[in-house]
Symmetry: C2
Subunit: 310 residues, 2 copies
């Protein structure tokens, strides 16, 4: 039987030790640890990788610390617009949503689409209509209200500035959450969820819900969830690129991650990172930014939690 | 200087000689020939591949024969909802839209996003707001009205049936249009546009606007535009898969197309096809369905137009 493994992220960007107070540092670490251990418990209790990544992402969506679900940032219109995707590495089935509002846990909606519809991707009001039909939980606007996010948005709402996540340096943090896992049966899965960019307009869709860019899973190679400047990740088809380097060039997971995240994306100007796990339980957490909220756990080994580069 | 090449498609599916009248056959061939020659003229007059694919797709969008732009099918709500994408193989810049209504030429909107915004993908009303801001042409509902499409929709509007395009056998034709080209400078580009599925619900998004799935271009390999059962094309990341087989395994364009369209997609159950052109002017038009509306032209060679398998 396969040793289980899970990794999660809570976004990447200019996250340095000096940018977080000791209290914030502690709160982020606690939230990451809780989410990764919730997912790990599912795996250790013979749950599937799909169940584990969904639960870990639900935990991150329910935390106001991360830009997904409850903690989603404000759009230009003062609303919250969320994207999410989930993929099964065994069947290559996938579900994704773009631009939904009022859905408490977007990742649950993505999973419902994968399980109950003939489609991969639904968007906007149509995705919400599907959520209603399948009994997903809705949440009122005040559920997504956060004083810090509101103030951050208020500063830029009358400008054309959009921000990739909350940060005093602006657009230097990429708010996304994600999880990848392999279960005892050796099946991998990936899940990603985001509230997008602060003050975003025009119903912009980033890489998160794009199968092959922000999210991908395939038992033959690995499961991947990305976080970063979405437009670059879409143009570079990042997640599937890692998978193809493994499948077609025989790269190890680490070699493929180094090539894509530390070389190609850097040359391209695409800041961010990703988390990945192979069907054999290898884990990689590469990023080319100052920091990435991340955690991982293999079987019953000690939980790893990291924020900064070193 | 590079010999120019361009290929277009107008959808794939169960298109047999017996399913089209002689008159229909003639009308489709004339429309395909006109569109591919319009694009070819751009290339021969030293235009860019981007300009050529955009113009060829505009011609196909303006024809009521194809499921894109003017000829778009009806959604469950009796509306028209269109997706499109365009990508430049030199810069890897891309623009895409999902679920727009009332836009006369969706491919022009995708091109405007690529040229004028920091984003790759916009959706729904937000994409229309962007179109308004950038002076794109809108069209009233009656512009998209077509008696045949309306009757086809009326038959299924009260059911849960969705159809991949107009056909008496239902869901056996995949309505999309696309173009790929290489210009005299050796730059490739790809463009795809669709009206989606008849009677579709929930703002479903298919592979057309997904960079890496329905549309991809990279000077190092080729430009690709797909048509088929979108969900399978998304899960298989078809366009980037062809590109990766060329880049990472050294396959020729034809070998990569055979592997993806005739082998992987067939095993996977994904019916459809694609058009592709390399930076050196090779063209491939593979499909695993009964037919695919297609045409191609290299430099000033004779124009090829095809519909059926043989």
């Amino acid at each position: 039987m396969q040793k289980t493994a899970i990794a999660i992220h809570g976004g990447a960007g200019t996250i340095t030790q000096s940018s977080l107070t000791a209290e914030q540092d502690k709160a982020y670490r606690a939230a990451l640890q809780e989410a990764v251990e919730a997912g790990s418990n599912v795996l250790e209790q013979d749950g599937t990788a799909l169940e584990a990544v969904e639960l870990a992402v639900v935990h991150l969506e329910d935390s106001p610390l991360f830009n997904a679900g409850r903690g989603s940032v404000f759009t230009k219109e003062g609303k919250h617009e969320m994207d999410a995707a989930i993929m099964c590495g065994k069947t290559l089935e996938a579900g994704a949503i773009a631009g939904v509002r009022s859905i408490k846990n977007p990742i649950k909606l993505a999973a419902a689409i994968m399980q109950h519809s003939d489609h991969v991707m639904l968007s906007g009001y149509g995705a919400e209509e599907f959520a209603l039909a399948y009994g997903l939980e809705f949440a009122p606007e005040k559920y997504f209200f956060d004083k810090y996010r509101y103030e951050q948005w208020s500063e830029v709402r009358d400008s054309d500035i959009f921000m990739l996540d909350h940060t005093e340096q602006r657009d230097e943090k990429f708010g996304t959450v994600g999880a990848v896992a392999v279960d005892k049966a050796g099946n991998v899965a990936a899940a990603t969820s985001t509230g997008g960019m602060t003050n975003k307009r025009y119903n912009r869709v980033g890489d998160t819900p794009i199968i092959g860019s922000g999210t991908y899973a395939n038992n033959r190679t690995c499961a991947i969830s990305c976080t970063g400047h979405g437009e670059y990740f879409m143009r570079a088809v990042v997640a599937y690129d890692v998978s193809c380097l493994m499948e077609y060039k025989g790269y190890t997971l680490q070699q493929a991650c180094d090539e894509v995240v530390l070389k190609k994306l850097v040359q391209f100007g695409g800041e961010g990172g990703l988390i990945a796990v192979t069907a054999t339980g290898e884990i990689a957490l590469p990023f080319n930014s100052e920091g990435m909220y991340r955690a991982s756990k293999r079987g019953q080994d000690e939980t790893f939690v990291g924020i900064y580069k070193r």
